[in-house]
Amino acid sequence: MRVQQPKGVPEVSSSTAAATPPATASPLDDERDLFGVRSVVGAIGVLLVLTLFGVGLQALADSVRGSSGFTVGEPTAVSDTVAFVPAPGWINDPDQSVPGAAVVAQKNGWEIKIAAGLTLQPGQSLEDFARIFYDIPPDEPGSQVSDLETFTTTSGLTGVTWTVHGSTTTTTTWQIANGDQVTQVLAIGPSATLDSVQADLDAMAGSVTMENAAEEGQ
């Protein structure tokens, strides 16, 4: 404690007080104890919070990233020329994925497979190509098959899609073309939980990008 003083008046500071300790200790000194609750529990509490923020959160992020196998929001390569952006919560299934050709991911009992490497025959349109798959009778009797519809990906590629609604299982297929190259996205899962993944499926199919293989090779 210091105070400006008039000339000739001795400086008053805490050091002079230190030379003359108070007659009685502070009541707050009663709480000083290295192994007291305040010291030990307080230190452990502070350490725990710092550990949580310094290490724990990153460990959790690493764990989630490891269990997912994807970096959500970042493009994941299917092949040298095909990629897609995984939606949150979808977990990579490396057992079913084929390196360089197909990626399989799962969520809520649903499975999506993005497969590259299909090709159109000379003079064959994507609609003609798709209709081969479209006309295959559904496995589940009584399933309703939607119309074959066209759509455009976020990167501007054209594709076709259709859905087979069964009482227990629903299958949606997207086929996207770039030149004669075709990427197929096939999603299959319980009809009851379709609503919970519909937006994810549409987003992932719409995120597919395909580089022209001919240009890539030049």
């Binding site: 404690m1 502070v46 710092l50």
Partner: protein, 387 residues
């Protein structure tokens, strides 16, 4: 230090002791030391690794000088806002150190981790629009509040009032703010003009309602929670949590990009953002300080009436010390009666009387400091110019 709080003279007349930071009889102190050193090394490394600091030392040094001046000026303003007491310089340094090293460095790590989690759980777009603000408000406010809690946990820091929490909270926030702004400056500028622009924008326009203000609000809540034992625990918890929530909201809103988009990117938009986001935080802080001062004033008055020699501080003189306005009025009256020197002596007397009361409170009426201040009061009064 600012009031006797739960340690009322009627319950325990022993002096409360001067505040100190160093307390080897507490594991919390050792955790504090290790955390500050560990984080300080990382912060130093981050700064020295900066390309600007390595390749454009003039830019790095000018940023350091500017932000140091800013910190000193901000500190001086807050320090002068202590009405009845002067808080410990060393505890103040400790609070600044926690904010500028531990809170900053751990927040950098935590913000990055939470950003990853938001990307994994939601999307990059979500993280950009909402996640960054959520992470910053949550991590940074919690880590800065932890600094105030560490100070509270150290018995020798003598935290005894709402305003103690406010003051040390502001210091933790100021340390955080200045280090963050300095690192941000050296990582994003390449010329002295850009440094000046950053300083103007982040320091003068945006800095007056930033971390120091948020943590001041949080610190007041913590101070209230741990010192106002005369109030029900539930009420204290509600107020502490409520003030934290308010500060969190101000911080979240400040960082939220969607609100910035409402106003556009021009200077007018920036002023609009400040009015919408910044002013409410500053007004809240001022209200909290006013609320804390009301209690501080009552406790100070009670202590003076119970424990102070009235020959050294008369009732009228005590009344004249209760607010800055009353102090100015008393000095003005002295000036009218005895001229400029009388006014200066009156100011010195007021300051000495305040320090005398603080010395009695902390060290006892028989202490050397109290005796010296009492002697000084007598000498000032004996000065012929003092009327």
């Amino acid at each position: 230090m600012s009031d006797v709080g739960a340690i009322s003279p009627t319950h325990d007349a022993r002096p409360v002791g001067q505040a100190r930071l160093i307390d080897t009889q507490s594991f919390v102190f050792w955790v504090f030391v290790v955390a500050v050193v560990y984080s300080g090394i990382h912060v130093f490394s981050e700064v020295t690794d900066s390309i600007v600091v390595q390749t454009l030392p003039a830019v790095g040094w000018s940023a350091l000088v500017l932000w140091s001046i800013y910190a000193a000026a901000f500190l001086a303003i807050v320090y002068r806002h202590q009405l009845f007491v002067r808080r410990s310089p060393w505890v103040t340094v400790g609070a600044l150190a926690w904010g500028g090293t531990v809170a900053y460095w751990f927040a950098v790590k935590a913000n990055a981790a939470v950003g990853d989690l938001f990307k994994l759980w939601f999307s990059s777009d979500f993280n950009e629009r909402w996640g960054t603000s959520l992470a910053a408000a949550t991590n940074e406010e919690t880590l800065k509040a932890l600094g105030v809690i560490v100070i509270v946990l150290l018995p020798l820091t003598r935290v005894r009032s709402t305003l103690d929490g406010w003051f040390y909270g502001m210091m933790v926030g100021l340390g955080f703010q200045v280090v963050e702004d300095y690192v941000y400056t050296v990582n994003n500028t390449s010329s002295l003009a850009e440094v000046s622009s950053f300083f103007l924008q982040r320091g003068l326009l945006a800095g007056l309602w930033a971390h120091a203000v948020y943590t001041g609000i949080v610190g007041a809540g913590i101070g209230y929670l741990v010192t106002r034992n005369d109030r029900p625990l539930t009420r204290r918890i509600v107020i502490a949590v409520g003030l934290f929530a308010l500060a969190w909201t101000f911080h979240f809103a400040w960082d939220l990009p969607v609100l910035n988009e409402l106003f556009g990117s021009g200077f007018g938009g920036f002023i609009g953002i400040i009015l919408l986001k910044g002013v409410p935080a500053l007004v809240t802080l001022l209200l909290v300080v006013r609320w804390g001062r009301q209690h501080e004033r009552k406790v100070w008055t009670a202590f003076v009436e119970a424990s102070i020699d009235r020959t050294l501080l008369s009732e009228q003189e005590a009344a004249d010390l209760l607010s800055r306005k009353a102090r100015r009025a008393a000095r003005k009256a002295s000036a009218q009666a005895g001229g400029h020197r009388a006014k200066r002596l009156r100011k010195r007397l007021q300051l000495t009387q305040l320090r005398y009361v603080q010395a009695v409170q902390e060290e006892g009426a028989a202490s050397a400091d109290a005796a010296a201040f009492a002697d000084l009061i007598s000498r000032i009064r004996q000065d012929p110019a003092y009327s």
